[in-house]
Amino acid sequence: MSTNTKLLLIVVLMTMVLGRMIFEKEWLLATGTEIVLKLEPRDPRSLFRGDYMRLTYEIDQLDGRLLSDFNDVAENDTIFVAGQSVDGYWTASSATPTHPRSEESVLRGRIERVRSKTPDCEDGTECEPELDNVTVRYGLDTFFVAEGTGRALEDRVAEAGLENVRVLVRVSKNGSSALKAMLINGEPVYENRLF
């Protein structure tokens, strides 16, 4: 095999690997089920870190009662969150360790933190600890904006209020997700488009 053929083979393989990464996400953005997520205030400091946005969603915090199908909950466990639209926002209704094939829109995430509580028993002693809530990451909390535009976007979000910010997400059948757009007062300020 000549050097040219070898190098062509290498760069074609590399292109295929990169192309697959792109195709999976573009296909998801084009054909996935669209859901609308509600933002939660992250912290008193800036929403933006330099030129990327850090977003916190209402569905990041799940009540422990939603995880009744889990035998044991641990950090870094995979979690599938099923939900439905309530008042225009997608809200979690159940969480399972495997994909519930019967549900239409399911987000796949990873448990980042587990919080337990120790309730008081009827006789005044402490009962066994039980699950309070979990923090989940869906891979939707960080995305990049053009250099120098972060501050302007932050000002627009602050001015509009979080209740007027809508984040559109596309979800695939296996639970993968991709951020499609961010709208402030119905106007797109970020869109994940190829062109």
Partner: protein
């Protein structure tokens, strides 16, 4: 570029042959040139070119990155793919014109851009998979390029990238035994040997050492070993590797000396560290430690015996290694009882080990091993010296005596080292 150890030996042999009248002095330069000596200058030019190309690549990337997020996604992707294809295209053009230095530098740039593309596409699409998989993909791309072309430059990059991958998985994600790395390592080792590239073999040894250190530490934490047992296990492991090097030499493995040098250095360091561990840091020798340590020791002893039988170890070499294995194996059990007496006994043993290592180094005419052994001897003497005198003298008197002692010690040791080196050189030339 030829094996530098071979070239060094050839130079020594030529001097001897000229003295014996076997080779005409007028031919020695031509012989050395045909063996590859003098290609060092070309190698330096290649290295500088490689660095220059990499810096140009980073300059271009920095410029693009500053404006990257403001352009449409399709343009972003076109830039990423275009740059990578251009680097490989230039590499093909240069390699076809037999400009191998520049060609391999461009190849390295292409592989680097593959990694950058993985990262940037991950950011463009907010891909949140297990991120070390991106490093693995990059490393596999580098390895494929290194094996297929073939390219030593890119193989070095593959060692580094895949080393980072296993480091992140082991340390960052606390993977207890990251065995998949060994598959990639095996391929890299084979590639380094096929390329007849000694620095690649050194990279392979260093990579394996790194993997053993990170994974053994993780496993030790998982099995609840104390810090003392963990360091003792490392000492046993490196002593065993030292014995394995003797077996490799018996099998005529050309890099067995490199294995011996690294394992000797690591063993002497690990054994020294035992003296710094508080006896309370020994966790009572869990069963898992006893079993593992015993198995490793038995393997080491068997290899030492095998190396002796195959005559790559002298009787004293095999005996010394077996004694050191036994001593290290029993150290955790003895350290708690009669602390002072045990410590002094093992310190004497360490000094004996360093002296033996000096003898081993001069016997096999290996200056690196001799120097390492001398360094270990010096450090241990200083450790004892400062420890003993610091308790006997105070303040300025201690520093005065310590200073005079250090100067005297350095003179004595340096004269002894030079005398041994000269004796070894004379023995080689006669």
């Amino acid at each position: 570029m030829k094996n530098p150890f071979y070239l060094r030996q050839l130079k020594r042999d030529l001097e001897r042959w000229i003295e014996q009248g076997l080779v005409d002095p007028a031919n020695s330069d031509a012989i050395l040139a045909s063996a590859g000596l003098g290609s060092g200058n070309r190698s330096l030019a290649n290295v500088l070119t490689t660095l220059g190309v990499v810096l140009l690549g980073f300059a271009a990337l920095s410029f693009v990155a500053a404006n990257f997020w403001g352009i449409p996604k399709i343009v972003q992707l076109a830039i990423l793919f275009g740059a990578m294809w251009a680097a490989f295209g230039v590499a093909a053009w240069l390699l076809n014109r037999e400009k191998s230095g520049y060609g391999h530098a461009s190849l390295l740039l292409g592989v680097a851009l593959f990694g950058v593309n993985i990262m940037l596409i991950g950011q463009i699409y907010n891909i949140s998979a297990h991120w070390p998989n991106g490093i693995l993909t990059w490393g596999l791309g580098a390895l494929l390029t290194a094996v297929l072309v073939p390219s030593r430059t890119v193989l070095a990059a593959a060692f580094v990238i895949l080393g980072i991958w296993t480091g992140v998985e082991s340390i960052g994600f606390e993977e207890p035994l990251h065995w998949p790395y060994l598959i990639a390592w095996g391929v890299m080792v084979v590639a380094a040997h096929r390329l007849n590239w000694a620095p690649g073999v050194h990279l392979a040894i260093l990579s394996l050492i790194f993997w053993l250190l990170t994974n053994s530490w993780q496993v030790a934490q998982l099995l609840d070993w104390g810090e003392g047992e963990t360091i003792t296990f490392f000492a046993l492991l490196w002593a065993t590797w030292w014995a394995v090097s003797g077996v490799l030499a018996a099998l005529s493995y050309e890099h067995s000396r490199a294995v011996e040098i690294y394992s000797a250095a690591l063993f002497l360091i690990a054994f020294f560290l035992l003296f710094l561990v508080d006896p309370n840091e020994f966790g009572g020798m869990p069963v898992s430690w006893t079993v593992s340590a015993t198995i490793v020791s038995l393997v080491g002893a068997a290899c030492a015996v095998a190396a002796y039988l195959r005559k790559t170890f002298r009787l004293i070499d095999a005996s010394a290694l077996i004694l050191l294995l036994v001593a290290a194996l029993f150290y955790p059990a003895l350290v708690g009882a009669g602390e002072s007496a045990v410590q002094w006994l093992y310190r004497a043993l360490y000094l004996g080990a360093a002296v033996w290592a000096v003898s081993r180094g001069t016997n096999v005419d290996d200056k690196a091993l001799t120097n390492i052994a001398f360094a270990a001897l010096t450090v241990e003497i200083l450790h004892i010296y400062f420890g003993a005198f610091a308790t006997l003298l105070g303040g300025a008197a201690f520093f005065f005596v310590a200073g005079i002692g250090l100067i005297g010690l350095s003179l004595v040791l340096e004269r002894l080292r030079r005398r041994l080196m000269a004796a070894a050189d004379n023995g080689a030339s006669s």
